[in-house]
C-alpha cells in the first residue's frame, strides 16, 4: 500500500471554504439563476418573441399551407343532406363551408372529422384531429369547432382522401342551432396547418403537434333552405 499524503491547505483556502459552507443555498440558487439569465440576455434571450399574426384573406383567395392549398369561397345554411345521411338533430341546421382543397405533398391525405354522439356532443377523439378548417364566432358552437363531416361535393362521398395534386371541391359541415344562426350572419373561418414535430423514434410515422391557424377569413352566411346547393 502506498501512503496517500494528506493535502496541506493554505490558511486562506480554509477560510474561503468555511465562508462557502455558511452561504445559504437560496443565495447560491439565485446567483446561478441570475448568471444564466444574464448570459441568455446577452444572446438576446429576453427579447420579445415575434408572434406571426395569421394572415387575413378574402373569400375565394387561395391559401397555400405546408401540405394543403385551400380556397374557401362560400358558407351557407341548409336543412340536411338526406342522401348522404347527414341529418342534423331536431332544432339544428347544417352550416356548410365550401372549399377547394389540393394536396401538395406526395402521398394521399385523409381528412378526418369529429363525429357527434347521439346527444350531439362531439365524440371523444380517438384518432387524428380535424385539422383543415374550423369555424369561430358561430353561436351555439364551442370556439373553433372542427367539422362534423366532410363531403366530396361531386358525389357526396364522406370518407375524404385528398390525392396528391388533384384539387377537389369539398363541403365542410357543422351542425348549428337553427334559431341562433341566420342568413346574413358573418362567420370567421380559420385555416389550419399541422406542424410536424419529428419522425417518431419509438413510434412509426411522423409526430404532429396541435394544428396552428395560418389564415382566417370572414364569410357571410347564405341560405338555401331545404336543398340545391347552387
Amino acid at each position: 500500500m502506498t501512503e496517500i499524503p494528506l493535502k496541506k491547505h493554505s490558511v486562506s483556502r480554509e477560510t474561503t471554504r468555511q465562508l462557502f459552507d455558511r452561504l445559504p443555498t437560496t443565495w447560491l440558487v439565485t446567483a446561478v439563476a441570475a448568471v444564466l439569465l444574464g448570459v441568455s440576455a446577452v444572446f438576446g434571450g429576453l427579447d420579445e418573441a415575434p408572434v406571426e399574426a395569421a394572415a387575413v384573406i378574402e373569400a375565394g383567395d387561395t391559401h397555400a399551407g405546408s401540405e394543403l392549398t385551400l380556397t374557401v369561397d362560400q358558407a351557407l345554411l341548409i336543412d340536411a343532406f338526406p342522401e348522404q345521411l347527414v341529418i342534423p338533430q331536431k332544432g339544428n341546421r347544417l352550416l356548410v363551408v365550401r372549399a377547394v382543397v389540393e394536396n401538395t405533398t406526395n402521398e394521399p391525405r385523409r381528412l378526418s372529422t369529429v363525429p357527434l354522439t347521439s346527444s350531439g356532443a362531439p365524440r371523444p377523439q380517438r384518432t387524428v384531429q380535424a385539422d383543415v378548417l374550423r369555424i369561430v364566432g358561430v353561436s351555439g358552437q364551442r370556439a373553433a369547432t372542427p367539422p362534423t363531416s366532410i363531403l366530396v361535393i361531386d358525389d357526396g362521398s364522406d370518407k375524404v382522401v385528398v390525392q396528391p395534386h388533384v384539387p377537389v371541391e369539398l363541403a365542410f359541415v357543422w351542425e348549428v342551432p337553427q334559431d341562433d344562426v341566420k342568413k346574413g350572419d358573418t362567420i370567421n373561418v380559420q385555416l389550419l396547418d399541422r406542424v410536424l414535430i419529428s419522425e417518431g423514434e419509438l413510434t412509426y410515422g411522423g409526430l404532429y403537434g396541435d394544428p396552428v391557424v395560418t389564415a382566417s377569413l370572414e364569410l357571410v352566411l347564405g341560405d338555401v333552405g331545404a336543398g340545391v346547393s347552387e
Binding site: N106, V152, D155, K159, Q163, H165, V166
Partner: protein, 195 residues
C-alpha cells in the same frame, strides 16, 4: 500493487476492440426501415401472385376521363381515372383481411385507390379466404402524371392491411405511359369468382 504498464496496454486494447466491434455492429445492422419494411412480392400484369395472406391477379389497367361504376356512380375528377381490374382473395385468414393497401406509385408519389365509388370498388373491401372477388379499383391522378417520365415505371401495390409493414406487399409494374386515355369506361360491379 499498482497495475503494471502491460495491464494498462491490454485493457486499452480490449476497450478499443470492443468499441470497434460495437461500431461495426451499429453501422451494419439493418435499420428500422429495413427491419419493418414490407416483404415485396414481384408480380406481373395478368399473372396470379401470392403473398402471406393475399392472392391477386391484376387483369387490366386503363386510363379514362370518366368512369361509370357498377352502382351508377360516375364521379368526376380534376385529373384522370386509372382503372385497375383485379381478382383478389385472402389465403389463410379472412379476419381483418381487407384490401387496405391499394396504392399506385408513380415516381415518389403515391395515390390510394378511391373510396368515392362506395361499394362499386374493391378498395378497402373485406376479403374472403379462397374465394376471389373480382372488381375495379379507381385511382385519381393529376392529368400530367400519366404522360410524365415516371409513368412508364409506375407500380401497383396491394396488401391486406392499411399498414403493410412486415407483411406481403404484391408489387405489379404498370406502364401508364403506354395506355391511351379513353373518354369513358364502364366497369362492372364487384363479383365473386375470377372472370
Amino acid at each position: 500493487m499498482s497495475p503494471s504498464r502491460w495491464q494498462y496496454l491490454v485493457n486499452g486494447t480490449a476497450l478499443v476492440a470492443i468499441l470497434s466491434v460495437a461500431a461495426v455492429v451499429m453501422h451494419s445492422a439493418p435499420d428500422r426501415d429495413l427491419q419493418q419494411s414490407p416483404i415485396r412480392v414481384a408480380a406481373t400484369l395478368g399473372e396470379p401472385a401470392s403473398g402471406r395472406n393475399i392472392h391477386a391477379t391484376v387483369h387490366s389497367v386503363a386510363v379514362a376521363e370518366t368512369v361509370t361504376a357498377g352502382n351508377g356512380w360516375a364521379g368526376t375528377t380534376a385529373g384522370l381515372w386509372v382503372v385497375v381490374d383485379l381478382s383478389v382473395e385472402a389465403v389463410v385468414d379472412d379476419v381483418g383481411a381487407a384490401l387496405g393497401t391499394a396504392v399506385l406509385r408513380v415516381g415518389d408519389t403515391s395515390y390510394s385507390a378511391s373510396t368515392r365509388p362506395g361499394d362499386a370498388t374493391v378498395a378497402a373491401v373485406g376479403l374472403t379466404t379462397g374465394i376471389a372477388l373480382t372488381g375495379p379499383l379507381m385511382f385519381e391522378l393529376p392529368t400530367d402524371v400519366v404522360s410524365s417520365d415516371a409513368a412508364a415505371t409506375a407500380s401497383l401495390e396491394l396488401a391486406t392491411n392499411s399498414d403493410p409493414r412486415v407483411d406481403s406487399l404484391l408489387v405489379v409494374p404498370v406502364d401508364l405511359a403506354a395506355l391511351e386515355v379513353r373518354e369513358n369506361i364502364d366497369v362492372d360491379f364487384p363479383e365473386w369468382g375470377v372472370r
